[in-house]
């Protein structure tokens, strides 16, 4: 039992490390789309990264709407063989941040060498940059476009691959558009801001603050594992959306074998998505569902054969938007229900559940001054092996994955491509409990986080 628990902790630490190194981070908006279309950011975004109805249409159209002088080529039968912007649609993003938790987090080396067991990290961390990204975002060829992000991560000090969505789209008729998306993060291809990859105000987080330990496959486990996927979608009459596809493990520059520190998908994990949107006057309202079934080999020293751990996720989401000249308002919500069946990993229970709910509201005045408030909650089965106690900061003292709390944010957008955000996260419950959650005396509220973000896109 002790050994299993140790294994669980190592796996958890490896997952966290992998998440920091490999995971697509945060949500972006890119000026190269503005350069390509000649349209201001506000055409596609209420305030970045939230999309307007036109922004959704632009993305569904494979980022191809273009108003730049072109390098073009055609065949004698007038088939277009090249249509390339004369200037490449490149952008740069720079984020700097200050993070402070209510109580300093434990020193990662506490108890080793000369570092005392109760040593604490220095609180109040400045990251410059927190993140710096280079984008190619725009049309690649007729009907083909991409949003490709390469990111320097200030925490790990490495340059890595980030959110990528390359897509092809065509109008089949006046009312029906279809397309194919190649991407590396389930829901990064989604056009509503109610799904995990782009849900404001939850998509912007400090890179150094503590994050609750339990997340569903759709909410992080698949991205953390490093996946690549392809999906086919259709959009009918500006109202009905359907998408089906699949994801496969694709860890960066690694051979797929037992040495991979993160779980590896067994074959293809199907992904599905349906949504309905209604627009009236300056309003739009969307309701939808999405899901996946992911079977993972634990890897991390175990061979990629035999039994797997299965994660069945289904989720509901909804988004309401009002876009006025002066006042802009939106609400996004999602509920993710996951059934976990452990055939490969030793756990206390053969199957567990994990449920996540998030709802957030945002208001902007003249797209310049904003405020956001969000509530998040994760609950699940008690499992002494999956959610082990005994680790400072990251442990689960009562073996429950439950976390919940509020996030509040104030935003100032002096220019359409510049955002200053001041965010505060309050945890009512963290890794299972409100007080002494890790079994070593730390309270949920000790992780309350003040986060100041400066965000430039150019």
């Amino acid at each position: 039992m002790q050994q299993k628990r140790f294994g669980g902790v190592v796996a958890a630490l490896a997952l966290c490390a992998g998440a920091i190194l490999l995971a697509p981070t945060g949500a972006q908006a890119v000026p190269s789309f503005a350069r390509q279309t000649g349209m201001a950011c506000e055409a596609c975004h209420t305030v970045f990264p939230e999309l307007t109805p036109f922004g959704r249409r632009f993305k569904l159209n494979a980022y191809t709407i273009d108003n730049l002088p072109q390098v073009s080529g055609i065949t004698p039968s007038k088939d277009q063989t090249l249509l390339l912007n004369q200037l490449p649609p490149l952008s740069f993003m720079f984020q700097m941040s200050y993070t402070s938790t209510k109580s300093a987090v434990p020193d990662t080396q506490a108890g080793t060498g000369t570092i005392p067991p109760d040593a604490l990290a220095k609180n109040g961390q400045v990251l410059f940059p927190q993140q710096a990204s280079l984008f190619y975002a725009g049309r690649i060829a007729p009907n083909l476009g991409g949003f490709v992000q390469m990111t320097f991560d200030g925490t790990s000090g490495s340059f890595g691959w980030d959110n990528t969505d390359i897509r092809y789209a065509r109008l089949a008729s006046d009312k029906f558009l279809w397309g194919v998306s190649f991407n590396n993060n389930p829901t990064v291809q989604d056009v509503w801001n109610s799904t995990p990859a782009w849900q404001s105000p939850f998509d912007q987080r400090s890179a150094t603050a503590p994050t609750p330990g339990a997340a569903t496959a759709l909410d992080g486990r698949m991205v953390d594992a490093g996946v690549a996927g392809v999906s086919v979608y259709g959009w009918w009459n500006d109202s009905i959306y359907a998408e089906v596809g699949g994801y496969h493990s694709a860890p960066a520059a690694s051979q797929l074998d037992s040495s991979i520190p993160n779980p590896v998908l067994d074959g293809i994990a199907p992904y599905w998505r349906v949504a309905f949107e209604h627009q009236w006057d300056r309003n739009s309202w969307q309701v939808g569902a999405y899901g996946t079934t992911a079977k993972f080999f634990p890897a991390n020293g175990a061979p990629l054969s035999g039994p797997t751990d299965k994660f069945d996720d289904w989720a509901l989401d909804s988004q309401y938007q009002y876009i006025g000249d002066q006042h802009l308002f939106s609400v996004t919500a999602t509920y993710i229900n996951e059934k976990q069946t452990y055939n490969a990993t030793a756990t206390e229970n053969p199957s567990d559940t994990l449920k996540t709910f998030r709802i957030g509201g945002q208001y902007y005045y003249q797209r310049r001054y904003g405020a956001a408030l969000g509530y998040f909650s994760t609950t699940g089965s008690e499992d002494a092996v999956l959610y082990a106690s005994g680790t400072p900061l990251n442990g689960f003292g009562n073996n429950k994955p439950d976390s919940n709390g509020w996030v509040g944010e104030l935003d100032w957008v002096p220019y359409q491509n510049t955002k200053i955000a001041l965010q505060y996260i309050v945890y009512s419950k963290y890794n299972g409990a409100s007080s002494n959650y890790d079994g070593l005396g730390r309270n949920a509220s000790d992780n309350n986080t003040l986060y100041l973000l400066g965000w430039l896109n150019f």
Partner: protein, 200 residues
């Protein structure tokens, strides 16, 4: 996975090879690009974007030209249309204008009776004390427009009010006649006349 990828690649290649030069085809441009904001056949949903169905062809040409030349500079014109219109050829501008002029206009809906009555009075008789001409003189008895004078019937009321306010504050300065007309009008009068004109 490999099968899916190769299938997807095949679909991609087949599609690209068949692509035609959309820029020269006004109807494809209207349905593929303009419709994203202006709606199918020019029936937009949000009042940020004007309804173009049945709009006067000459007026659309004039506006697209003004966007290309940056002569029309209200906030939404700059944000959306300066870019959108920048690469259009004269022939495509004419093609788009003709396409939208040929679509069936949206039906107007009546506003509150008192507002409609006040609006009708201004629309048909003007406001002599403020030297405001009757709108009907240029825009037609049924607000159907004529040549460079736009159709107002069936338009979003909020869009029309936004334009009138733009003439008044100077953000939309590409219509000298209108700037003179609205100078002395109150916000209430602008709303009344916009409501009446849109209802036709």
């Amino acid at each position: 996975m490999k099968k899916i990828l190769s299938l997807a690649a095949a679909v991609l290649l087949a599609g690209s090879a068949g692509a035609v030069l959309a820029q020269s085809d006004a109807k494809s441009l209207a349905t593929g690009v303009c419709a994203a904001c202006h709606g199918p056949e020019g029936h937009s949903i949000s009042p940020v974007f004007p309804r173009l169905a049945g709009q006067q062809s000459a007026y659309i040409v004039l506006q697209l030209d003004a966007f290309r030349g940056h002569l029309r500079a209200d906030p939404n014109a700059q944000a959306y249309m300066w870019g959108m219109a920048s690469q259009l050829s004269d022939a495509t501008v004419q093609g788009l204008a003709d396409y939208y002029a040929a679509q069936k206009p949206s039906a107007g809906t009546a506003g509150a009776p008192a507002l409609m009555a006040e609006g009708r009075k201004i629309y048909e008789q003007g406001i002599p004390s403020k030297k405001v001409q009757a709108c009907a003189a240029c825009h037609g008895a049924n607000a159907e427009g004529a040549q460079v004078f736009p159709r107002l019937a069936g338009q979003h009321v909020e869009y029309l009010i936004g334009q009138l306010e733009g003439f008044k504050t100077g953000t939309r300065s590409n219509a000298p006649i209108m700037i003179n007309e609205v100078r002395e009008m109150t916000a209430e009068q602008l709303r009344a006349v916009a409501t009446y004109a849109a209802s036709k």
